[in-house]
């Protein structure tokens, strides 16, 4: 492999990273909002959200990415490849994050909520000042775990033509006729990215355990 092949691999890694990062950022916030809406138990909306979460968790990312990218033009709006990729990853990860946040709500200490109510805090202040700061710490290990699942699923966007870390190996081997070296380098790069997340998850778990004791 020459210098331009290395350059292409790093560009591919960068594409994977920024697309995943945008989807994670949107997905974590959207998951929290969906978890909050589900707590309110609004009749029809609640059932729609349950259906969405069940469907999004069962649909493979590849299928979802193809579905969004191919059917957007027939519904009247064309989508950029990267935007379609981000949309697919976000729809998938939001559903998982919503469940993580919801279990954070369910396990939140009842005593603290009652104490907040007794001192006259409004529900919004209770959420903002008491629940959210603690829930971020307790849900973080689960959220980071979901982030590493998202990166492991991100090669799905290669199917709609985004040149990510997976697809770039095809480009390189089309020139060099040696597929093995770029694939091995791409594997190593993925391991670095996901290994970093696993390490972060351990740190987060240690902090969460300290809070629990």
């Amino acid at each position: 492999m020459n210098a331009s092949a290395w350059q292409m691999l790093f560009d591919g890694a960068w594409t994977t990273l920024w697309i995943s990062a945008v989807s994670i950022a949107i997905g974590v916030v959207a998951g929290l909002i969906i978890a909050l809406i589900r707590l309110a138990r609004i009749p029809v909306i609640d059932q729609i959200l349950v259906l969405y979460i069940s469907l999004a968790r069962a649909t493979p990312l590849v299928t979802l990415a193809l579905f969004i990218f191919l059917s957007a033009p027939t519904l009247g709006f064309g989508l950029d490849r990267s935007v379609a990729g981000i949309l697919a990853l976000t729809i998938n990860t939001t559903a998982f994050n919503a469940e993580i946040w919801r279990s954070g709500f369910r396990n939140f200490s009842r005593d603290q909520r009652e104490a907040a109510m007794a001192t006259g805090m409004t529900p919004w202040i209770t959420f903002r000042r008491i629940m959210l700061p603690q829930m971020i710490i307790t849900s973080l290990p689960g959220l980071i775990n979901e982030m590493s699942f998202l990166i492991k699923g991100s090669p799905a966007i290669a199917v709609i033509g985004v040149v990510d870390l997976t697809r770039v190996t095809n480009r390189i081997s089309a020139v060099t006729y040696e597929p093995l070296p770029p694939i091995l380098v791409a594997c190593a790069l993925y391991m670095v990215i996901i290994g970093a997340l696993v390490w972060l998850q351990r740190l987060a778990e240690r902090r969460a355990n300290r809070l629990a004791t």
């Binding site: 069962a58 649909t59 493979p60 579905f67 191919l70 027939t74 519904l75 190996t169 594997c187």
Partner: protein, 221 residues
Amino acid sequence: MSNWDILWQARDEFWTGFLNTMQIFGLSITAAFVIGCFMLYLLEGRPSVGKLSLRVFIDGMRMLPFLMLAYLLYYGLPTLGVRLDAWWAGVGALAVYHGCYFAEIFRGSRLVFPQGQIEAAQAHGFTRARMFVRLILPQIVMQTRPLIGNQLIYALKDTAFLVIITVRELTAAANSLSGTYFIPTEAFLVVIGFYWAVSIAMEIIIKQCGRFGARRGLDHA
């Protein structure tokens, strides 16, 4: 003729794709389960260099996207002189990849396995292999049931990646139909429905297994 009529006439294509997906899924998770159990058995006993390298291998697999392993088997192996067709490369990659996840799930449960049972079995003269098959494995498999169920759904979703290495499975069927008739929305909705139905069916089966486990006394709090 409406779009749905076109799809109904192409139902054979969906059905072959679905059967192919289920074949790949069934074969690979069976193999993955056996690989997972076997790895757990290899990890039994005192630490050694072999066990340490197996642990490193398992952790390495868990840091890799599934598609990269499929790429390694399908595009990488021919350089070393081994040529697999796409179908077998896909099944092999799924089996090894999810086998490692199964091994890790079992290992987590093995760590908290009551030591007293093992000492009792040794006192009764069980050999290592017999003790593993009759005593340790059944309890660990039943206890890790919810995690296994999750992993099965991940494995089902990973079969869709194989469309990228040209396996003719369910997602490939929708892709080719939407290319031929230009009705992607409907074609993919049908396929998503298939995946959804299979994962709901799996969730129900896992729940039923729970009842069986409770009856046989394999669950303890």
